[in-house]
Assembly symmetry: C2
Homo-oligomer: 598 residues x 2
């Protein structure tokens, strides 16, 4: 390996400089936006110690016309074995914006769909050399060569436009830096900000993949209570205000890790008002926020039970209609409907946002990007140079070319199709619960009568649904309209959940205390919830339905979602077909009813 | 992101298990090879603390036929925007095995070569779905999905065959693990084995890109003296034997970082005997060896000045002839000619070998692999899961398909072509030195009269060449045959180097003490070498020749290569054309002669 002399990174920033194109930065300053504050005091010694190459002088000369450079250990592209790379790709409008509630049988057979080539597909070819190439040109001679950690210049160019238009950061000198996906990104943030023995603020139910980066550093989870919209600001304030360094033996946490949209595992989505409240607390206690947003574009809005019309205002209804329109108007309505990013409230540059192509293109990309302050971008660039370097040129070349080919509006149209798919899938699973169980609602939305008697396991936000057994499951008597007339739940509550408004997860609360042996187990001093949930999970797996056990997501501490007698499963509705979804929930209903002797 | 529930890694090894195919492992055991020793005591707390997913039960069920899995946050491949990926690639015999000493003018114009498509190119297409796919099948539905950290199974399968046949490890239960190239790989080794404040054994001149990973951890370089073959075993033994923990305030180094082939920056290549000696010392003092081998296949053998025949034995000559043959016999001769890896002497599993596709395919791949013991493979797999995950599916799909298409013998043929290219380029630059300067040799190889009077700056190995100004530069009088007759150098020695036998670098020792101001600067207490070398480097750059300044490679400590009055440049001959090479060295000669007033 020898890339240290290859190509300098474009983002060797000083506190004065910024890699945001000077135009955009100038406009932001003119619009009265401040620059980021200096958060150097948050950096670990490791992050502080990283140095840029001592050979800056070299770089100055490298682009001199006519220079014969023998400085870098760079192989000649002549000997790269690839002459061209090509892709057949889907058109931006491949996925419809509005899907039928239940799938319509396709005329194509499954096999012809799986193995046949669509005639609608378009294709591009990336050649080794492009005549009159500019720095923005994607050609294999460049993409398959050593690249600076910032990757091909055309990619951050696209991403800066995207960030500006979608997130509208509240400070001027933010920038982007590509990485190898959010797990890689988060690992780099951890080593930049966390020392062994530190504490970190996390959601009470959190993503274990993120914990894998800092728990081995003996960093302690400080879990913040959640409700159906995510973490509760009051609890965060309480934890930070009452932090006793001496008693705890460690400093107050200075980093908050959160998945605000379609949270993993709870599926909760936090909207603007709550984010602003959290942001203000983080400013007060000097906490850096890392928002990990893989599911951001999968913001699908509220589930409405089939056959009901949402009681929305005329203006709201107009927005819903605008979202269905093709073209720029529809694209703008899509952008307006998204939950605001923490960046929108970030006047100080204390937010590190992680975005990824995993859910909007494909997970195998292993490609994502940071959006944050010049200081953090510069330190992360140094860390990138000493670890992954730029992501593979195969993925950056392909992704950049696809984005260039589609264009900004085209990419937004593609995202709208992806959003519509997840909305459809969310409806499939929620509708199936509605068909298989008898549902009682905590809210009075959609004109459904609110049932105050049902157990609230999601922090009293009034968004939950609790499922009961149908009296004659599957019978005609149990049709939806009849159910609405019921004044109280019949029998035991079985499961509760908040119908997700984004992402791909349902966080299913199982009322496991309804099991006949529950009390006896508790009296014996056993962890009855764990014992019974494990048995139920195994029962399900033996019946060919696999959920993720909730226990793996437990960040410790006190729980607001859940508590004694409630166990959890995380259900992903991202991949099962309509038929599989129905079969899985029907099987679950049978296994659960039998298990609880309901 | 959510891959923690996606797909388990294939290499959740225990000390009993091994991911080397049980057949190969059984054969190795039958051949009397031991298993690796337990080096758990070398792991950092961070590395020890890493845990495998607590959800192993889940994995057991994931492959059950008919299972409906809602456990993982996995998007459906239906919504991946790529339908096919294709590549036009070069045939394995594209690069000739034997190149003319000076380039023959091609009939093709440069432009048609650059932009025209060769009719010889072959191509492959990777489809989204392949009928009757097996785990070894490369299809986009799998490659562009979340993958286990170990990547597509077909890739390690190929690499294990390669490792077995090329390196022949001396213990039974070694395995491979893919990574994002050697910088990523080395970063992972650093966090696995080095704690803040540790010391590390390095070559006295070393690769700064590697230092970037551990110097920010405040790990101290302990530099081992080198000669023209690499580090000197006696000095390593001396350093380790006399290590005084109390006096030093730190533990004896337990990790040795080395680039044994075509070393960066010195170009030195270490052969078997020396490696065995180093390995034995590392066993004695319990030191782990990390051999970073990007240039391994660029082992080009000795440079012989033009017009001379090497005085090789009949047997050696037969090997040289065998290497020129196409097919299996030639491939085997190529493999025999390679320097042995440390793995060949590693009976304990204390070697971590880093290989990369950067020089054999293309650097933009960001793809490489570890070869090491089951313990290290397993810990590195856990670290990979918490950082990069598998390398991008775009590069693993392409690389695996290319390797499958070429096959093992085809890939070896490709490597032989690459080797021939670097041999040609090495000859270009050494021949140019021979033409531009008057050369005196430390060795009596090739029947050249050894000159004992020339200054030895490469540790007394007798491999160096010292360059003097020609009396009438470029004149007919100064022809090669005449020069051989000279008994002593004329004028001042200007530069010395060891003609490289591998890699892409010449480590050029400049006799800067020959500068008229040198002594005066020394008397003034200045670092005369640094001052004058910087001025010379800038002079060169102003004349459109860019070398890498040697100072950036200095690992500190005592130097055996170099010393007072000698400064260094690293010259890479990997990318300049023949004409550029000649022009650069001619310019260098003029600038240097003028600078030294020689």
């Amino acid at each position: 390996m020898d890339s240290s002399f290859a190509i300098p990174s474009n983002t060797t920033l000083t506190s004065q400089g910024s890699a945001v194109s000077s135009d955009a930065h100038a406009r932001a300053v003119a619009a009265g936006l401040p620059n980021a504050l200096d958060f150097t005091h948050h950096l670990t010694p490791l992050a502080k110690n990283r140095v840029a190459s001592s050979l800056k002088d070299l770089y100055k000369y490298m682009t001199t016309p006519g220079m014969i450079t023998m400085a870098g250990g760079i192989p000649s592209p002549q000997y790269f074995p690839y002459e061209t790379l090509s892709a057949e790709y889907l058109p931006t409008d491949f996925l419809p914006l509005d899907n039928p509630r239940t799938p319509v049988k396709s005329k194509q057979s499954l096999l012809s769909w799986l193995f046949g080539s669509s005639t609608n597909n378009q294709s591009f070819t990336i050649r080794k050399y492009v005549e009159n190439a500019t720095p923005s040109t994607i050609q294999l001679a460049t993409s398959l060569q050593y690249q600076s950690a910032t990757g091909p210049p055309a990619l951050p160019l696209f991403l800066r436009e995207y960030v500006q238009k979608i997130y509208q950061p509240a400070y001027a000198d933010w920038d982007v830096l590509i990485n190898c996906g959010n797990t890689d990104a988060w690992g780099k943030v951890v080593f930049m900000l966390l020392e062994r023995g530190d504490a970190i603020l996390v959601e009470e139910w959190t993503y274990p993949g993120a914990e894998n980066s800092y728990l081995p550093l003996e960093v302690e989870n400080i879990s913040i209570k959640m409700d159906g919209e995510g973490v509760i600001p009051e609890h965060m304030e309480e934890v930070l205000a009452n932090w006793d360094e001496e008693k705890r033996g460690k400093k107050r946490p200075k980093l908050f890790y959160t998945v605000p949209t379609g949270q993993n595992p709870t599926g909760a989505t936090m909207m603007g008002e709550r984010k602003k409240a959290i942001y203000d607390i983080c400013c007060k206690y000097d906490v850096i926020i890392c928002e990990d947003e893989p599911y951001y574009c999968l913001y699908t809005g509220a589930w409405k039970p089939e056959g009901l019309k949402p009681n929305t205002s005329v203006l709201a209804q107009r927005e819903v209609e605008a979202e269905k329109k093709e073209g720029k108007e529809g694209n703008e309505a899509f952008i307006r409907a998204l939950a605001p990013s923490y960046l929108k409230y970030d006047t100080q540059g204390r937010v590190i946002r992680l975005d990824t192509f995993s859910k909007t293109s494909c997970p195998g990309s292993r490609l994502g990007w940071f959006t944050t302050s010049p200081l953090f971008i510069e330190r992360l660039t140094r860390a990138t140079e000493a670890s992954t370097q730029a992501p593979s040129g195969f993925v950056t070349a392909m992704t950049t070319t696809l984005l260039q080919t589609w264009g900004f509006e085209g990419y937004i149209r593609w995202l709208r199709g992806i959003k519509a798919v997840y909305k459809m899938r969310r409806n499939w699973i929620c509708d199936t619960f509605d068909d298989v169980f008898h549902l009682e609602f905590e809210s009075s939305e959609f004109g459904i009568k609110r049932n105050d008697a049902v157990m609230d396991v999601f922090g009293g936000l009034g968004r939950g649904v609790t499922c009961y057994a149908k009296q004659i499951p599957g019978s005609k008597e149990a049709k939806w309209d009849e159910k609405r007339g019921l004044q109280s739940a019949r029998g035991k509550p079985l499961v509760s959940f908040v119908p997700p408004t984004a992402g791909m997860f349902i966080w299913l609360a199982v009322h496991i205390s309804g099991h006949p042996d529950y009390d006896a187990l508790v009296r014996k001093g056993e962890d009855a919830t764990k014992t019974l949930m494990t048995a139920l999970w195994r029962d399900l797996a033996e019946n060919l339905v696999l959920f993720a056990p909730g226990i793996g997501f437990d960040a410790g501490g006190e729980h607001s979602i859940g508590g004694a007698g409630i166990g959890y499963f995380r259900l992903s509705y991202s991949i099962a077909t309509y038929e599989e979804t129905r079969k899985a929930i029907e099987t679950f209903s049978k296994v659960l009813t039998n298990f609880l002797k309901a």
